[in-house]
């Protein structure tokens, strides 16, 4: 009988970008059980958002840096739902383009970090090089690199000019072969497969029990995508779209779902650019919102929900945010036991734990 040793993993760890603490109980090199603790990054965002609903269009983006546009859009959708606003079609298409562009930057970041956790520094560098081009495209459309400040309740604040649309299209044509090359590496490279295949398996039953969302659920055989439901503010009329999903449920499947979604997002942006028609950008409304509203959206990590109760003045009564990482991190307690210690960073990074979103 061997002794069980306890190793603290995080909150400060080279493989984690953000503070998350895991208490690992090891039997030799094998993980027996794990305890998770969060809350190192709590900033009181929900309370701060109650102060002024106009300021929140910018503040909600600051909940998370990697899915900032998704947060801003979902907040604006909720205010639109309360006020009963009809968003113009052009604004919806521009939002969809930006949401997909940010999904590409987020997924390439995650894939790069899985590569780094695996020890594949070369692939990490290549992912981040391609990501930079998409960051520049987002800068071209919105004017900022990370926090785009482009949303406003009722529509968007910046237009896509024909020249911008043309440059976007040319750049996507240029980037697609590079992404396809990286797709080939993620799909077939032997070093990568050895470190990711069959590791950190989350079966379909476990995924249903833990109620995971987003790419983690889709990698475990649940084809669930909020973009297809009517509640999300996506413009998908006349656009070919099918959710990407796999059945393996391991780290490789999660990486693969993200890689396929990146290529799918390029396709979605192209289709949206073809559908851009002239029209107004913002639906104006006066006064303050009054009542309850709910909205959701497909963030890069999964389903993002906002619930707001307004009381007819500039202050809001309550803002509730449920972020996807909040439900995706706890299943680590199911995935980690039984794995080798060097695989722990790979598994943790493969669920894309955005602690910034989780702690708020």
């Amino acid at each position: 009988m061997s002794r069980i040793s306890t190793i603290p993993f995080g909150p400060q760890h080279p493989s984690f970008l953000e503070p998350l603490h895991l208490k690992l109980n090891l039997e030799e090199e094998r993980v027996v059980s794990v305890e998770l603790s969060q809350g190192y990054n709590h900033r009181g965002m929900e309370y701060a958002m109650e102060k002024d609903w106009k300021r929140d269009a910018f503040l909600s983006e600051r909940v998370c840096g990697i899915c900032s546009f998704h947060h801003g859009t979902t907040y604006c959708q909720t205010i639109e739902a309360i006020a009963g606003l009809q968003v113009p079609e052009r604004a919806l298409i521009i939002r969809t383009i930006m949401l997909e562009l940010q999904r590409i930057t987020s997924h390439t970041l995650t894939l790069g970090h899985i590569a780094e956790a695996v020890g594949y520094e070369n692939l990490f560098m290549q992912f981040f090089r391609e990501r930079e081009e998409f960051m520049r495209l987002a800068n071209l459309i919105s004017g900022n690199r990370v926090h785009y400040s482009m949303n406003w309740p009722g529509g968007v604040r910046r237009d896509i000019s024909p020249e911008t649309a043309k440059e976007l299209e040319n750049k996507l044509d240029e980037m697609l072969p590079k992404l396809q090359m990286l797709d080939g590496v993620v799909r077939k490279d032997s070093t990568w497969l050895k470190r990711t295949k069959g590791i950190g398996v989350l079966t379909k039953e476990q995924a249903t029990t833990w109620a995971v969302v987003g790419p983690v659920a889709r990698a475990s055989g649940i084809p669930y995508d909020v973009r297809l439901s009517g509640n999300a503010g996506y413009h998908l009329e006349g656009i070919r779209f099918e959710p990407v999903w796999r059945e393996e449920g391991d780290c490789w499947a999660r990486a693969m779902v993200r890689m396929d979604e990146t290529l799918q997002s390029v396709d979605l942006i192209r289709q949206c650019l073809g559908q851009l028609r002239d029209g107004p950008l913002v639906a104006q409304f006066k006064g303050h919102p009054n009542g309850e509203g709910f909205s959701r959206n497909e963030a890069p990590r999964g389903e993002l929900m906002y619930w707001i109760r307004a009381k007819g003045e500039s202050k809001l009564d309550r803002v509730k945010i449920r972020t996807p990482a909040f439900v995706n991190i706890p299943p680590l307690a199911e995935m980690l036991p039984g794995c080798e210690f060097p695989d722990v960073p790979v598994i943790v990074v493969s669920v894309d734990p955005c602690v910034c979103c989780t702690d708020r």
Partner: protein
């Protein structure tokens, strides 16, 4: 993968040596806000609409000031300005050792500003 590795080994780095080479900023980049003080009508809309409270309008002293570190370059002030006094320049403001306030006065030259440090931080230093 090996092919691209060797290709990268003998190619130039993808990054740029920024201060000596100008940054590749796209058209319409939101760098910093500036005032064209000849057009200002002192309506104080920029101050009221600033989400972070970075802008302060001094109607009596005829100055507009912005705390550069608080400004999130959202462009809300540019949107609400009725006379297009505020302008979003493409370039970023220069890095500084301390939080800076940039003050634009009515009697100054166009696009010229005066730099002051945040008063709270100065007070902290003395203690």
């Amino acid at each position: 993968m090996l092919r691209s590795t060797f290709k990268n080994l003998f190619s130039h780095p993808n990054t740029k040596r920024y201060p000596s080479v100008p940054a590749d900023l796209p058209q319409g980049n939101r760098g910093r806000v500036e005032w064209d003080m000849k057009k200002c009508i002192w309506c104080m809309l920029c101050q009221k609409n600033c989400p972070t409270g970075a802008i302060k309008t001094d109607k009596a002293g005829k100055t507009q000031s912005v705390v550069r570190n608080r400004c999130i370059t959202c462009g809300r002030c540019v949107e609400v300005c009725p006379t297009q006094t505020i302008f979003m320049r493409q370039q970023y403001s220069k890095p500084a050792m301390e939080p800076e306030i940039h003050i634009y006065g009515a009697e100054m030259m166009q696009w010229e500003y005066r730099v002051e440090n945040l008063p709270i931080l100065n007070h902290k230093k003395k203690v």
